[in-house]
Symmetry: C2
Subunit: 137 residues, 2 copies
DNA sequence: ATCAATATCAGTAACTGTTACTATTATAAT
DNA sequence: ATTATAATAGTAACAGTTACTGATATTGAT
């Protein structure tokens, strides 16, 4: 029961998520999909984002800038939050599973996984910063 | 300018934060401090929590259960979110600075820090789970 | 101790991100 | 085609947080 039915709106949301690399918020998704479905409802966006996360067709990213972001990239990877421009960037690197072992070593409970986010400067902001330093010198 | 003035309410909030280990939400802080200052305003709680975070007298914890949590423990440490009871627990372990180096190795931008949270079972929930398995066997 | 300056407060309204509700529309199986 | 119902648009409700206002408490100077 509860058979899943196709919908153009959901399709469009999913396509956008898999194309983009900007890790959009619900509102960003809304504004994008609206180009193709001008009277899509914001509620529809939220409902489908939740749906896609449930179906493991997307990942919800949560860190505290007030709103959640969504990622259609299912390859395991980490993220960098740029202290310069505020953007979210992919950070391809080997899995950090070993930190689970480190954590388990001195803990009475059980470790089942981890979430990691890096803070720093994205390539572009890092470049800009270097130039500023040069000017000072 | 902008000299900081003492306030009983702020003092009470800070005391609660440094005593407790429950990593409270703003609302939990509110309900606790209300025991001593029955007509403290929720706005005052929020204002002071932000203030304490700014002054680095407390840390804001953000992961996606909708609301922020606060920690008066300034010692560097990590946290475990229990998949059983939903609680937040301290996890004392050596700093994981080395993962910054790992991340930097293949990244063009710069890494300045990281946030890590572990998922698993707290000591009590882990114990309960073991007992369940025993019964099955 | 009294006073003036102002940081902080209580109380309330406003704002933001998200979810729930309802009547209508689109999809899929018969 | 017909029918059952998943999904929709639009709107209202909700939760967490912030902003505003006039009153109060703290501080430093007299």
């Amino acid at each position: 029961m509860a058979t899943i039915k196709y919908s153009r709106q959901r399709q469009s949301i999913k396509e956008y998520l898999t194309e983009t690399k900007e890790h959009p918020t619900a509102d960003m998704v809304y504004n994008n999909v609206r180009k193709y479905y001008p009277n899509i409802s914001l509620g529809t966006v939220y409902r489908n984002l939740n749906f896609l996360v449930e179906q493991k067709e997307a990942v919800r990213l949560t860190w505290g800038d007030g709103s959640e972001r969504y990622d259609g990239n299912l390859e395991p990877h980490y993220h960098l939050l740029c202290n310069g421009c505020g953007g979210v960037f992919d950070l391809m690197m080997d899995s950090l599973e070993h930190i689970d072992t480190l954590a388990a070593a001195n803990y009475e409970g059980t470790i089942e996984g981890h979430g990691v986010v890096f803070y720093g400067k994205c390539p572009e902001c890092a470049r800009k910063e270097k130039q500023k330093k040069k000017l000072k010198a």
